[in-house]
Symmetry: C2
Subunit: 339 residues, 2 copies
């Protein structure tokens, strides 16, 4: 009975998917940040050579997929499944990036948790023996997000100190049933948590309770403690959400400090890059994972990390209709090659 299930919400993969390759594509501001050396491709043109920002975002996913396959020495025909999604209405970056490629495609919506959600579902497909090679992929773009969620960019709207900066980037991983690389060994599915936060410029506060809920469920379902991980990394609570999460864990008697960080904090230099509370967007945790985090695992700097994708499940319509902001967090445990 459900041999790969642990507790209420977690999986323990009996055939651990190998992350054979990863690829990241990043924009101008991201290329000026501390993780620049880890990106496979950067472009100073916010349009990536396309006519609109939405098409630029789609182009980024195409580039991430191309580079991924190149790095892995695989062709599109070798891929059994693609899981992808993004923030744009009707997830058009993901759908248009895959059209007429012949790639079997399953669309996701998990807001900024999409990298973790796609990794989790891709791992389920490989470990369940439904696929040999799966791509998990997502993207976001500062300009396409701003105009969809907030103001036209030309309006020059003021940003509050709690606001986060949507990352321009796309990340992709190749999960496989064999080969070498970091391995996905366990995962925990999020529940949708809404603590009544209504400020759409304070996503960190809206998402922190979901992150806490999932990390606690993960540790409980698998009988682990934070010490079982070299790093627990959320994406993307930003600076403020990160502090809220640390504070809440402290109150619960759990000390995360020293082994906790957030992709929205790692991606930018918060003092120098004028991004207020840090990075956000599906692309943020995606390009932090598909570069910096996986590279550290490959090099043996860390043995095991818990990658916790966080998403705020609001829309401009829900905000206009007076709704508060539900959050979700999916967690994926990834081991280094050696372990």
């Amino acid at each position: 009975m459900a041999a790969q299930k642990r507790g209420r919400r977690s999986f323990c993969f009996t055939r651990q998917p190998v992350i054979r390759a990863w690829a990241s594509v990043a924009g101008k501001k991201e290329s000026e940040g501390p993780l620049q050396p880890y990106f496979d491709y950067t472009n100073q043109d916010t349009y990536f050579g396309e006519a609109t920002w939405e098409k630029a975002e789609c182009r980024m996913q195409q580039l991430a997929l191309e580079i991924l396959l190149q790095k892995a020495g695989q062709r599109e025909a070798d891929i059994d499944l693609v899981f992808s999604g993004d923030l744009l209405n009707q997830c058009i970056s993901s759908s248009f990036a895959l059209r007429n490629t012949g790639l079997p495609a399953l669309g996701l919506y998990g807001a900024c948790s999409t990298m973790a959600e796609s990794l989790l579902l891709g791992s389920l497909a490989v470990s369940g023996e439904f696929a040999n090679q799966v791509v998990a992929m997502t993207s976001s773009h500062f300009a396409s997000s701003e105009r969809q969620y907030r103001y036209p960019l030309g309006y020059g709207g003021q940003r509050t100190p709690t606001a986060q900066w949507t990352v321009t980037g796309s990340g992709a991983v190749l999960l496989a049933s064999s080969g070498t690389g970091p391995r996905v060994e366990a995962a925990t599915v999020g529940t949708i948590v809404d603590m009544g936060i209504t400020d759409a410029n304070n996503m960190g506060a809206a998402m922190a309770p979901a992150a806490m809920d999932t990390i606690q469920a993960h540790l409980q379902d698998l009988g682990r403690t934070p010490a079982d991980y070299d790093l627990i990394v959320t994406g993307d609570l930003g600076d403020l959400g990160r502090e809220i999460l640390l504070d809440q864990f402290r109150k619960a008697g759990v000390n995360l400090s020293g082994r906790y960080n957030d992709c929205g904090v790692l991606i930018f230099d918060l003092q120098e890059q004028d991004v207020h509370a840090g990075g956000s967007g599906c692309g943020c945790s995606a390009i932090v994972l598909c570069g910096f985090l996986l590279e550290q695992l490959r090099r043996g700097v860390w043995k095991r990390i818990l990658f916790c994708g966080t998403g705020a499940l609001l829309s401009p319509t829900s905000t206009q209709q007076g709704e508060s902001i539900p959050g979700v967090c999916h967690a994926v445990s990834i081991c280094g090659e050696g372990k």
Copy 2:
């Protein structure tokens, strides 16, 4: 190596998930159509007692879930996973329907193919031994769709003869690792096919090529012919898309007639209900499945059907930017209890 995989894009489930229960919630127009006797709950109020149409759509999903659990004699705590999605920007009906329920939730975006996509992924979770009980669920609402995709309803925009009518409804199924009921035995993942159709009022033509592609892949991957199914049912090509599909199969030398139909055609009386080319929306194939189709399988009228959810992966933004309309189709093969 991938024991549950067949061919490039198909799965053959070694532990066939049982559809233990299903539930459907429908609006006024749907309750006046030919499938009225199969709906669990109908409401003549387009607001379902809520303040807005978006909240009404969310309420429909909550009702479908409640009725589903009641029919199955299960509590929320007995459910391991929910796969759901919808058409609204950022899938707010699905996310808000599940907030603070404690249900582990994975969000999907497959446009009108979501019922099939959620059924496929739920089956993968059960057959892969990741979950014992999974809910697959979706919804759509005529009024929330019209104002998001087309015109404000008060404007009274004219509809073209090729336009389809978005169904107001929500459907949910309970997939389980044991019990009795129809069984999911195989599935085929769609690829994203774009044949250059640019008329956003002619979704049937845009989606028919994706349906053809997936049905052909399904038959090829599993070494079957249409005669292996009592019914092949797309959702939702409408009247026009249905004719295009039949015509294309005829040209390919495959005779589907007599064993093919479409959910968008089944849901309404096309002569009497003024819905032009038929029904559409995630809710259309969902409530045709979670009532009429599953009931016929339960009664033994049919032994095996191929349920092919079709989705048009456009957005108003992609249309405004001059893009054509990509389609996708995911197919799920369901057997009656006896077989």
